[in-house]
Amino acid sequence: MTTTTMTMAKALNEGLRRAMEKDRRVLLMGEDIGKLGGVFRITDGLQKDFGEDRVIDAPLAESAIVGTAVGLAVRGYRTVVEIQFDGFVYPAFDQIVSQVAKLHKRTDGVYTMGLVIRLPFQGGIGAIEHHSESPEAYFVHTAGLRVVACSTPNDAYWMIQQSIEHDDPVIFCEPKSRYWEKGEVDLDNPPRGLFDAEVRREGSDVTVVAYGSMVKTALRAAEAAAGEGVSVEVIDARSLSPLDLAPMITSVEKTGRLVVVQEATKSASVGSEIVAELTERCFYSLRAPGVRVSGYHVPYPPSRIEDAFRPSVDRVLDGIDRVMGYA
C-alpha cells in the first residue's frame, strides 16, 4: 500500500491526472483551467502535460460548457467540466436538468451521458456573493443525475476517478473550504464504492449524518460531545443521489437519535430527505424526531458574518442536545 499526504486540491489534481492517463477520451473543460490551472488550481499543470485539446479553456458561458460536453459525450468522450463556483452553475441548469439528466432515457439508452460536472460548493472561504452556495438539492431532486460530495483528500482522489468511469452523469461537489486541508491518500486501493456512505466515527447515543465540509464539523462536535459523556456516531453520506441508507439505518437502529448537518438551507433539502427516509424506515427505533442543523432560510450572507450562517460545532452540539432531550 502506497500512501502519501496531500491536500484535497492536490488529490483532485492527481485523480484527474490518473483518469486522463488511463483513458485518452477523458477531457477537461472549464474557465481558466488551462494555463492558470483553475482558480483553485485543481487542474494545475494538466494542460501542459495533456495539451490544449484535452484540457480546454472554455469561453465564459456555463450553459455552453455543459451543453458542448453533452455533444462530446454523444461522440464518446468523457468530459469533466469545472464550474468555477457553485453560484455560477445556474446558467447551465437548463442543460443539466433538460438534457444531461434525460438524454439517456430519451434515446432508450443509446447515449451514455458519461460526464462529470465538478462543483466547488459550500462556503467558509470569506468570498463575496455567489461564491459560497450549496445547490446540491436541485440536482438530487432530478432523476437521471447522480450527486456525490467528497470530504477528505483520499475520497477526493478516488471519487473523482470513480465518477469519470461511471456511465451516468455525476454532479461532483467539492467542499472548497477543505481544499487546502491535508490527509493521507492511498494510491493503490479505493476506500469504497462511489455511492457508499462511510461511518467516520463510531458512537452509540446519537447518529450525525453530514457531507462535504460539514463532516469535519460533525467530527469536532462528536469529540466535544464525548467530553460531555455523549457518544456520537458520525456518518459521511458521500453520495447524495443515491443516498446510501443502509449504514444510516443500522446506525439509527442502534442510537435511536438522528441529526443531519448541512450548509444548505433546510427546506426540501438533502437533510430533509435523510430525515424523512430514516423516519419511514426506523420509526420504531427513533427515540426523538430527526433534527436538521442547516443554513438559515436566507440568501447566503456577506462572508464577514458567514460563520453565523454555516452550522458550527456549537450548533451541531445544540442539535445533539435537542435529540438527547427526548427520553
Binding site: 458561458a61 461522440r75 442543460q95 439517456h104 434515446t107 458519461g114 447522480r146 451516468d168
Partner: protein, 354 residues
C-alpha cells in the same frame, strides 16, 4: 422584399436564375428525387396533422412550406455526418432514413425519443429551444479530436435564434473552428411572434459578428439550399470552420396543431407565400426543362399516398408502452429510487400491456 443578398437558383416560377457564386450541379434524376422527397414528406406531414385532428396524436408540428429548406440541406449531408434537430425537422429525418412512424412516436406520446440516433446519425428531437445547438458544437469538437472528416449540422428557427444557447453555440463554434453548419430556418413566425421581434437585422448577419460566414438562401429553392449547404459542409470537413445558413422560408401551417395562426397573421401574407411554393416550383422546372411527364408525377403522388396509408396503419398500431418501462434507461446503472418505484408499481399491479 427579401433583398439582393438572397441566394436563389430557381425562381418561384420554376425558372433557373444565375448566381455569381453558386450554380446547380444536380442532374434531372437528382432534381426529380429531391421533388419526390418533398412530395412524400409533405404528404406524410398532412397525414400526421389529420391523425392529430382525429385524436391519434397528442400534438403535431407541421413543416408545410419548409420542404425545400430541409430536403435541400438534408440531401447535402454525407452518410457519416451527424445532425441535431429541433422538433420540426421531419424532412431532415426523412433524408437520414428515419422511418416515418418513428418520427411520430414522440407526438403520439408513447416515447420521449423515437429512434436510434446513432443508427441514423440523427439525434432525437429537442423541444427546449436551442439546447441542441450546443450538443452539435460539442459533437463537432469530438469530430475534430478524432481527426475525422465529418461535418455536423444543427437546426433551429428564427425564434430560437434569440436563445442564449444558440448564441453561445456560435461563440464556441467560432472559437474552436468547429466543423459545423447551422441551418436557421427563418419561417417568419415563432408561434405568434414575427421574426422582426427576434432580430432587427437579417438573421444571417449575426454570423459575421461571431466571426464566421453567414448566408441567406431562398429556403423554398431546393437547388440553392442543396448547393449552399453542400459547400458549407465541404468547407467544414476541410477544416474551414462553421457556417450559418439562414433558410428564408415560410411556415404555411400552424406552429403546431394547438396553434391558431388566424389570430396573428393575415391571409394575404399566406397567399403571397403560396406563390413561392417549394414543391410547385421544382415541379415546373422538371416539367419544362427535363420533360417529366404527368405519369411520373402521378407515380410519386401515389407512392406518397401509399406511405401515408402505411404511416396511419403504423401509428394506429402504436400502443402505449407498459408503464413499467418508465423505469428503464433512467440511469445506465441501477439507482435505488428507480428500483423502489418499479417494485411499487409491480406490487400495485399497474404494470402490464395497455
Amino acid at each position: 422584399m427579401i433583398g439582393e443578398e438572397l441566394i436563389q437558383l430557381l425562381t418561384p416560377e420554376g425558372q433557373r436564375i444565375a448566381h455569381p457564386e453558386y450554380e446547380s450541379t444536380l442532374g434531372g434524376d437528382e432534381v426529380f428525387s429531391f421533388y419526390r422527397d418533398m412530395v412524400i414528406i409533405r404528404r406524410l406531414c398532412n397525414e400526421a396533422t389529420s391523425l392529430q385532428r382525429q385524436g391519434q396524436l397528442a400534438l403535431w408540428a407541421p413543416l408545410q412550406g419548409q420542404e425545400a429548406a430541409q430536403i435541400g440541406a438534408g440531401r447535402a449531408l454525407a452518410p457519416m455526418d451527424f445532425t441535431f434537430p429541433s422538433y420540426r425537422e421531419h424532412g431532415i429525418a426523412w433524408t437520414r432514413g428515419v422511418p416515418p412512424a418513428d418520427m411520430l412516436r414522440i407526438f403520439r406520446a408513447t416515447t420521449t425519443g423515437g429512434w436510434d440516433p446513432q443508427k441514423y446519425r440523427h439525434s432525437v428531437p429537442t423541444v427546449v429551444l436551442g439546447n441542441q445547438a450546443l450538443h452539435a458544437v460539442g459533437y463537432a469538437m469530438g469530430v475534430q479530436r478524432d481527426g475525422a472528416e465529418e461535418a455536423v449540422m444543427t437546426f433551429f428557427g428564427d425564434g430560437a435564434s434569440s436563445q442564449g444557447d444558440v448564441l453561445e453555440s456560435f461563440v464556441w463554434a467560432a472559437s474552436f473552428n468547429a466543423p459545423i453548419v447551422f441551418i436557421l430556418q427563418n419561417n417568419q413566425w415563432a408561434i405568434s411572434e414575427p421574426s422582426s421581434l427576434q432580430a432587427k437585422i437579417p438573421l444571417y448577419h449575426r454570423a459575421h459578428g461571431f466571426g464566421f460566414p453567414g448566408f441567406r438562401v431562398d429556403g423554398n429553392d431546393v437547388l440553392a439550399m442543396y448547393e449552399v449547404t453542400k459547400r458549407a459542409l465541404d468547407n467544414a470537413r476541410a477544416g474551414g470552420g462553421p457556417t450559418l445558413i439562414e433558410a428564408y422560408t415560410y411556415r404555411m401551417g400552424a406552429h403546431t396543431t394547438s396553434d391558431d395562426p388566424t389570430r396573428y397573421r393575415i391571409d394575404a401574407e399566406v397567399e403571397m407565400w403560396k406563390h413561392r411554393d417549394p414543391v410547385e416550383r421544382t415541379k415546373a422546372l422538371l416539367a419544362r426543362e427535363y420533360k417529366v411527364k404527368k405519369a411520373a408525377f402521378d407515380e410519386v403522388a401515389s407512392e406518397a399516398e401509399e406511405l401515408a396509408l402505411q404511416l396511419r396503419e403504423d401509428v394506429l398500431a402504436m400502443d402505449a408502452p407498459d408503464p413499467i418501462t418508465m423505469f428503464d434507461d433512467v440511469y445506465a446503472d441501477a439507482h435505488p429510487l428507480v428500483n423502489e418505484g418499479r417494485r411499487e408499481m409491480i406490487e400495485l399491479g399497474v404494470s402490464g400491456p395497455r
